[in-house]
């Protein structure tokens, strides 16, 4: 197989950007993706089979057949889980990765999110740390992500934000009814509500039209291609450069290394299941926190008996996502106007600065809700079945507002991905084994956040409010998965350096949420994108034409 400069593994948020940045800089790139390339024609509106409600399977992968994982509960009992089951911690397997079907909230973390240990100290039992980079380092790349991928919204209503040089490239979508109810209520409470940022066209942008405000949003591909992901922005640009070849339905097996411990290529199974070897100068792992860790752990050799980058048993640790808490408020008049995407208003007043808590989180109203989302979210005391349940569905469906947010998750080293000793996938590779739990302080934060959601909804006029702040019994990862290849300056306490390069292998990079030191009180995707731009810029700067400057 012809030698190329770079192999990028995973065509999601991070890998799509890395492939584009390298390809337009003149490097030859092969982009491997284990899933297919869906188009807007694959946007079937099936509320039982999509990426958010998966009773009948994942619409955008992985399929349930042949791709198990193992999850270990608090008692130590392990069980096999299928890709569409809850404990699997799935993202997606397709070109675009999670960005094809996500809700698309496009948050910048706050400056304090990069300085968590300095700001708060590390709670006992946690692995809370500072990042080796600051908000200011990342700011230009946040901006680049906002402009290249395309973000709409308006931060002007809040002082709780990091400094920025330019406004968002697109104005917010027109508010829905929930916005008009929640906004004055938040202001009465002394809060600072604003139009939340989203990777969604509100006006024509990047050659595609604006959102048509349908109800099929988070979990679905966009029928009119107004939702911006890597599949309709950077990946087409990468391909148009002539320097990038996208190979879909190709599953990476391992990173191959030479006698000196440097990567020399990637072994992968092609769409027909045949084992192939792609030689290259450098490897970029962008398979999402769980699969990136798994690939590194599966890349064993004489020099790396425990996997690449894993000299200090760090790969796979600090797995984190977001513990969501909030509340559902029930009103005595119709509110639901069926105008997508639904999520429209947010506050970041509570992300930092609460005495006794290590951070907080953003709170926002929920995306458009489909009837299936409401069957177990009825007012407290509603019957679970029978005529009473049917009547409660009718009474409550259009008369509620839901306010939720991702709690700042306090990482622990015990929440981790390892290789299962016995279970293998359809390619014969050891599968990810997920164990550990959320650090308990996360629940303290989540509880306070839920109480704040309750207060906001009551102020907005809700006649009854259900607080939702359940304590998870296992790790939280899922679509916000992060942390398994932590970024840091010290090779003994982190996996990659500030340029996303693995400490002890100078031509292997991890460019996805795996490198996050913590996950902020926000949806992580814009940070994944910004880091991908930053790491790619550094890589291109150090590229000599045949290899990296040493």
């Amino acid at each position: 197989m012809k030698h190329v400069n770079a192999v990028v593994i995973g065509a999601g948020a991070g890998g799509g950007i890395a492939a584009k940045e390298l390809a337009v800089a003149g490097l030859s790139v092969v982009l491997l993706e284990r899933g297919p390339w869906y188009t807007t024609a694959d946007c079937r509106k099936d509320d039982l089979r999509n990426q958010r409600t998966t009773m009948l399977g994942n619409a955008f992968g992985p399929r349930d057949e042949g791709t198990p994982r193992v999850t270990v509960d608090a008692s130590g009992a392990a069980r096999i889980v299928l890709a569409s089951e809850g404990g699997y911690q799935n993202n997606a397997a397709c070109v675009g990765g999670g960005t094809l079907s996500y809700g698309g909230q496009a948050w910048r973390y706050l400056p304090q999110d990069f300085r968590m240990r300095s700001t708060y100290g590390a709670p006992a039992g946690s692995s809370l740390e500072d990042w080796p980079i600051t908000y200011d380092d990342l700011e230009p790349f946040y901006e680049k992500a906002e402009y290249e991928i395309g973000v709409s919204g308006d931060y002007s209503g809040t002082p709780f934000k990091g400094p920025r040089r330019r406004p968002l490239p697109m104005p917010p979508l027109a508010p829905n009814r929930e916005f008009y109810i929640l906004e004055p209520a938040a202001k009465r409470l002394g809060l600072h509500p604003f139009h939340l940022p989203m990777t969604r066209n509100s006006v024509p942008y990047n050659g595609r039209g604006p959102c048509m405000r349908c109800r099929w949003c988070v979990g679905f591909a966009c029928e009119v291609d107004a939702k911006n992901g890597s599949q309709n922005t950077v990946i087409p640009t990468a391909l148009a450069s002539g320097n990038c070849e996208l190979r879909t339905e190709c599953m990476a097996k391992e990173i191959l290394t030479d006698d000196r411990g440097r990567a020399r290529g990637v072994a992968y199974f092609d769409a027909d299941g045949h084992l192939q070897q792609q030689p290259c100068d450098l490897v970029i792992v962008s398979a999402c926190a769980i699969e990136s860790a798994r690939l590194l752990l599966n890349s064993k050799s004489r020099l790396y008996p425990n996997g690449i980058g894993n000299r200090y048993d760090l790969v796979g640790r600090n797995l984190q996502g977001h513990h969501y808490t909030g509340a559902v408020g029930f009103f005595d008049y119709d509110i639901y106007d069926d105008v997508g995407p639904g999520a429209s208003i947010a506050i970041t007043d509570y992300n930092h600065g609460t005495p006794g808590l290590c951070g907080g989180g953003m709170l926002a109203n929920e995306f458009t809700r489909l009837p299936i989302h409401m069957i177990d979210r009825l007012p407290a005391g509603s019957p679970r079945w029978g005529l009473g349940h049917k009547q409660a569905m009718r009474a409550a469906y259009k008369r509620n507002i839901q306010v939720f947010g991702p709690t700042q998750q306090i990482p622990t080293a015990d929440a981790r991905v390892t290789l299962d000793p016995t279970v293998r996938d359809k390619w014969g590779l050891p599968v990810a084994r997920i164990s550990g739990n959320v650090h308990p302080h996360t629940f303290d934060i989540g509880e306070v956040q839920a109480q704040r959601a309750v207060a906001w909804l009551k102020e907005a006029g809700a006649i009854s409010v259900t607080k939702l702040a359940n304590k998870a019994t296992g790790v939280s990862a899922g679509q916000h998965q992060a942390g398994t290849c932590r970024m840091g300056n010290d090779p003994q306490s982190s996996v990659v350096d500030r340029d996303c390069r693995i400490h002890d292998v100078d031509n292997v990079f991890v460019i996805d949420g795996s490198v996050h030191v913590n996950n902020g009180g926000f949806n992580p995707v814009l940070t994944i994108m910004a880091i991908a731009y930053m790491a790619s810029a550094s890589l291109v700067r150090n590229w000599k034409g045949t290899g990296l400057k040493s």
Binding site: L48, M55, L56, I372, K390
Partner: protein, 166 residues
């Protein structure tokens, strides 16, 4: 289009299973018992019951597809429901009175929680989920909840409503 698809699949399954009238997995007797249970979970009022909206078709189809793994639990649960009905009321569940049916389903909820929870979940999915899987016939539950069906498309939907500043 939905009706055509349903008829098509009924014909198709009829070709392969001689022992029942159009079900892919259930026997007629299974189906009668399941209908009684589903219609207690979502009874008829001004709007159709579970079975009236096609929930049995939904469950039956998925028991040969995504829910194959639940076949055993269903067969055992349906048999148990039938047994409870015979023991308490001396009649098959489908011939029992509505009050008796409710008593049997309530008993089932505590005596075979796993089965009851599955049927409850699948009934609600079939009733409130996408019509493409055979349930929620003609999107009846969506209309019941006041959703426009088919949905109004494009910005017209928004502009029809008050509050648009643009």
């Amino acid at each position: 289009m939905i009706a055509t698809a349903a008829a098509g699949s009924a014909l198709l399954s009829g070709c392969f299973s001689a022992h029942n009238s159009g079900w892919e997995f259930l026997t007629d007797s299974n189906a009668a018992t399941l209908k009684a249970i589903c219609d207690q979970i979502i009874p008829a009022d001004g709007f159709p019951s579970a079975s009236g909206a096609g929930v049995l078709t939904y469950i039956d189809r998925q028991l040969t597809r995504h829910y194959r793994r639940h076949q055993k639990v269903y067969l055992a649960g349906l048999e148990q429901a039938s047994r409870i009905s015979h023991e308490r009321f001396g009649t098959a569940l489908e011939s029992a009175s509505p009050q008796q049916e409710l008593a049997v389903v309530t008993a089932l909820e505590s005596e075979n929680h796993q089965f009851f929870e599955l049927v409850r979940e699948h009934t609600l999915e079939g009733y409130y989920g996408s019509p493409r899987h055979g349930g929620n016939r003609d999107a009846v539950s969506w209309r019941m909840l006041g959703l426009d069906e088919p949905p109004l498309r494009g910005r017209a939907q928004y502009d029809l409503r008050k509050g648009s500043p643009s």
